[in-house]
């Protein structure tokens, strides 16, 4: 067992340090028929916002060497629809669920967090294990506390703050000061690639093998930060995961490997969890 929110009153105690990253496990049940999700410490959902978002038009995906660029424009059906669809599914997934909330207007963040925290088991326990707050790539250190306060005003769940990869250390320090419970490293940089369908340029977040070295680098840069660090991105092998875990990560999140080889993602979680 690992503890990812040691300073939170209820903590975030997970059975495995291998999680599924936001954007690659859907809202939970998507991969259930292919792999046993119970080997993962938790699953982080696709983004959830207060109101539905239609997302970007096609093309959304461009392939790069050893990776791809993806831009969904935060497409999601809105928190009300997410809750009505998944509130009965999440408790049966076999793994804890962490809701990913992109940074938004503080009032909207509060209302979204409150709605999610309001879904409870018959025993009155929250169904969700934590909130992951995604910061935009251009977030400034002063922005962090208002967003964290907004989420905290809506729920008492542990809050993981997902930082932009390569972001300034001051951003991480401001998250610590604003009493984040853990830091996720992090949101990939923007990139451009050609759509394989129509050869149009697609601008979006970069995913693939290259991210591993960026995450590894951030782990070294953020040494000494007094919060659990969760390394998210670019893991394609057991060795990749172990390098990050021995370089200071308390846990890792697997992302695009799920698209390339879900069975390999499962095997990594299985081996690390032993």
């Amino acid at each position: 067992m690992i503890e990812l929110a040691p300073y939170h009153k209820t903590g975030l105690n997970l059975a495995s340090p291998v999680l599924i990253a936001s954007g690659f496990g859907g809202y939970g049940p998507n991969y259930q028929r292919l792999i046993d999700l119970s080997v993962f410490g938790a699953l982080v959902t696709l983004p959830i916002t207060l109101r539905p978002e239609r997302g970007t038009l096609q093309p959304r995906l461009g392939e790069t060497t050893a990776g791809f660029v993806l831009d969904t424009g935060l497409q999601n059906p809105g928190v009300r629809k997410v809750i009505s669809t998944y509130r009965r599914i999440w408790p049966r997934l076999g793994t804890p669920v962490i809701a990913h909330l992109p940074a938004d207007q503080p009032d909207d963040l509060t209302r979204t967090a409150r709605a999610l925290a309001g879904i409870q088991t018959p025993q009155g326990d929250p169904i969700l294990a934590a909130i992951e707050l995604g910061l935009p790539l251009d977030a400034a250190p002063d922005d962090v506390a208002p967003w964290l306060d907004a989420v905290r005003a809506g729920c008492e769940l542990p809050i993981l703050v997902k930082l932009p990869l390569g972001g300034h250390r001051a951003l991480a320090e401001s998250a610590v000061q604003a009493q984040a419970d853990a830091l996720v490293l992090g949101t990939p940089p923007l990139a451009t690639a050609l759509s394989p369908i129509d050869r149009q340029s697609v601008h979006g977040h970069l995913f693939g093998a290259a991210l591993h070295s960026l995450v590894h680098h951030d782990l070294h840069r953020f040494k000494g930060i007094d919060l659990p660090l969760i390394a998210a991105g670019g893991i394609h092998s057991l060795a990749d995961a172990r390098v990050l875990l021995t370089s200071g990560a308390a846990a890792v999140q697997i992302d695009s490997l799920l698209l390339r080889d879900p069975q390999a993602a499962y095997q990594i979680a299985l081996e690390i969890g032993k």
Binding site: G23, F24, L46, P59, R60, L70, T72, L258, L259, R260
Partner: protein
């Protein structure tokens, strides 16, 4: 839905630019409907990171056939070099395929694309069910069309080529009005332009495009995950957002294109 390895047990040249692979599932556990897809993991993640959707056609409980041709896509180009006894890592099946319910009598299969892989198997299935089948294929020139010699004699074949080298001289959509009067089911694989024209012409002939009449397989969005997890394949339709990997890739054209 599963991860498995299919073995290439035969590689047959149908025409200068067409091969047919026979794929065997040693576990005999995969059940596939025409129009559903598998995700193929290409060996080299450096040049081809994402899995490629392929549309094998069920032949027996454990055999599938797959049409291939030269393709600029690195993943499909890799597939085109596979030989007998090579193994293919696949995941699936995914999505909604073509359906041939009871009551259908006149089936029109139409394509303006070389990526018309699901249609031959649908043709075989329809012939076995005793349906009247017309296959209408359009392309730039005769050599880009699925080889006529591979069609059974009971199937009516209509061709249209832009250079006039086979059949009607012009686009395949020129032939649609007569064919749409005859058909009571249309299954199409091709471009968005084909689907839009199908819709417009069907509305002119039948006054409206009824549901459950014309179906198209989307080829203009990527299908990287197959399970609706990544949202890369979303289509904005008149009926709202639809995921091609779960709600499709075969869609009722009455839904709005």
């Amino acid at each position: 839905m599963q991860s498995t390895q299919l073995i290439i047990t035969n590689r047959e040249k149908l025409a200068p630019a067409w091969w047919r692979l026979t794929l065997t599932d040693p576990n005999e556990s995969m059940s596939l409907q025409s129009g559903q897809f598998l995700l193929l993991r290409c060996a080299d993640a450096f040049t081809c990171y994402l899995c490629r959707p392929i549309f094998p056609q069920p032949e027996t409980n454990h055999d599938f056939t797959l049409l291939i041709r030269p393709d600029p896509d690195p993943g499909l180009a890799w597939l085109a070099t596979r030989q007998v006894n090579d193994k293919l890592d696949v995941i699936g099946p995914f999505g909604q395929g073509f359906d041939l319910p009871n009551g259908v009598q006149n089936l029109l299969l139409v394509s303006d694309s070389q990526d018309m892989a699901p249609l031959p198997a649908l043709m075989t299935q329809a012939v076995a069910m005793g349906l009247s089948v017309t296959m209408a294929l359009g392309g730039r020139r005769a050599t880009t069309l699925y080889p006529v010699a591979a069609l059974p004699p009971v199937v009516e074949f209509q061709a249209a080529t832009l250079d006039g080298s086979l059949g009607h001289h012009g686009p395949i959509t020129d032939l649609l009005p007569d064919l749409l009067r005859w058909a009571d089911r249309v299954c199409a694989v091709g471009s968005t332009h084909l689907y839009q024209t199908l819709r417009i012409q069907a509305e002119q002939i039948r006054f409206s495009l009824p549901a459950d009449f014309a179906f198209g397989l989307v080829t203009d969005v990527p299908l990287p995950c197959g399970v609706g997890a990544c949202l890369a394949c979303v289509r904005h339709t008149q009926a709202g957002l639809r995921l091609a990997c779960i709600d499709g890739p075969v869609f009722d054209l009455a839904m709005g294109w």
